[in-house]
Symmetry: C2
Subunit: 399 residues, 2 copies
Amino acid sequence: MAGSQRMLKRLNRMAIVRHVKARPGLARGELAGLVGLAESTVSVLVGELIEDGWLRQDGSRGTGAVGRRPKALELDSSRLALVGAEVGDDFINAVACGLQGEVLFSRRIDYRHVEQGQSIRDTAALVAEARAAVLAGRRKVLGAGVAVAGMVDTEGFLRLAPSIGWRDVPFGELLAASLAERRAADMPVKVLNDANAAALSEYVFGAGPAVGSLVFLSLGYGVGAGIVLEGGLHVGYDGLAGEVGHTILKVDGALCACGRRGCAETILSQKVISRQATGREAPVLLVSELVALLDQGDATLKQVVREAGEHLGLVLQNLVVTINPEVLILGGPLSRLQGLVDVAVEELQRLTGSLPYHRTEVRVCRFGLNAAAVGAAGSVLHQALHPLAHSIGSGDLAA
Amino acid sequence: MAGSQRMLKRLNRMAIVRHVKARPGLARGELAGLVGLAESTVSVLVGELIEDGWLRQDGSRGTGAVGRRPKALELDSSRLALVGAEVGDDFINAVACGLQGEVLFSRRIDYRHVEQGQSIRDTAALVAEARAAVLAGRRKVLGAGVAVAGMVDTEGFLRLAPSIGWRDVPFGELLAASLAERRAADMPVKVLNDANAAALSEYVFGAGPAVGSLVFLSLGYGVGAGIVLEGGLHVGYDGLAGEVGHTILKVDGALCACGRRGCAETILSQKVISRQATGREAPVLLVSELVALLDQGDATLKQVVREAGEHLGLVLQNLVVTINPEVLILGGPLSRLQGLVDVAVEELQRLTGSLPYHRTEVRVCRFGLNAAAVGAAGSVLHQALHPLAHSIGSGDLAA
């Protein structure tokens, strides 16, 4: 019973934080109505949340009425923090954020993966650095999320990271061990897929009104989608959902790294663009190098990017008719290539012009190259805010 | 307040029915624990549900304990009924079902749509016939669902039925008017997409343990998918989700009825199979005619079906890596073509052999040609059982 009362209290606390996050400026009385609790109970919980660094009250708010003015509540951006990192195909990135996604610390290094253990130790070093920066600023760390360009199960086990060449790595465990060696293991660590993390960056920290569904398409060595539907990530039965880089677009097309032919990644990826621009398989140019070439007016690359944009439009159209999200968000390193996104959006409009009623909005991601790292940090907040996430949808809550 | 108490009572009643549906044989005491109500309250509600025809108690159940044996509850299959219909490209089908999906009445007619009003009147006639059959059996009708091969919005407005050639038809309204003329309008009528309806037939009335997610792929004139995720239909922001027949599989492929090139439907549909088998655009052979040709050993058609099966495998693989459902279910008229499904499953295995951990199960639908009509009937039950469906996922329930 004590356990279920603690859980109930946690649910009520987080319900309050969710409401304040969605509508900054709420007063205790309004909150009581929204969460269905007595105002006195809400006051006690709000007091605790203020003490714990979740909320702050911002002086008074004019109501037009005579008498004591209710105190407006909002998220406190100054005392709690989230750490996030991304292990990319040719970089490692770490960030620390506040509760509203404000990036407090960010460090990104170009990286060539050679040995697995070394990559994990170098990731742990960056995560520890972000944590230390947060602590130095006198904030408490709620937890860390680490995004990896591969298939990750719910226990942080990395099944496959095709571009890096890793398979069956207990990534979460090894990372935690490496953080412990650095005495930086005093926070929960969550591992997730990079596209899923990127999707959460927009969902958890998105500007403007909350969206009901979104697909984040991450463009780099691979093409992966993170899918948010009805309030949470849709990762699929085996965690394979969103692996749109391996949808087959060309029957009998070019050979893919996955062993099949005609996957989207065989016509749209950093490797393909690099090869078409240089005429060589290796080395694969960094996106910064591709950007520099475009800036220099490289005509071949410009044409290559144009064709990649057309293929991207095709991938977008297939997502619109299959999942039909409210918003499609483009991110990942390749989204920085001048012209790619514009051509893709044009092509999507051309392709869907004959489909009536399609209103999916396409936009470029808010956090740029930090999207997956910020979203990994956001996954920690999302989990804290939705303690019952895995029960919702079972229908039992309606009882 | 009276309104919200009525709603609360409705929620509690339907929670009880959901639990008994999921676990037939429950007793009142077990139910009280499951729904979180006092046993006395549950007893009152169960009494009403028995009176209203939802539940029945099946004598006594041995518990091994001494004393009065608790009464086992189960869905009552004898007193309530659901009506369902499907308006197909070349047929109209109507059914009536009990609460467990038992088909009580079924009538299917081959149909060539000529004039919209006439098609709607003929549909109303079949729906009225199913209703009359149910009433003659002294059952109460909970409502009717009608599935259409097209894009339908939540208000029963048919935006587009490309194969029939209808656009912007207030289908639900016209159907209700036609039912009123027949004095058969004493039940709510719900209009939905055929693939979505078919998906619900498996989700609401599926045999075996409940699945968390499923995609029903309906194969006929068009190729459409119904998607059930986390307890409900995923129809997408504009109701376009699952229009996988219009995913582009061949860049610069054949022209599609939708005006684009290379859509899945240009390589996999009843029209294409008929044309390839006969060498003529029209008339499009009925599936029964195709089945007869295969039975006669038509070698051309056999090869055509084999190729269609390979393309179907490709569509299945793209669904596995995009949505990754627990179960993929194949239905629609074309699924009756000998060999098609076997080849598709083989091809899916070949294509996904190199993808580790994929466990999506593929199976043929349970209700055969009645799937969409039974599912349309099931949608009435699903809606009744989940009065809060549109609130779930907002997160507010967790408060």
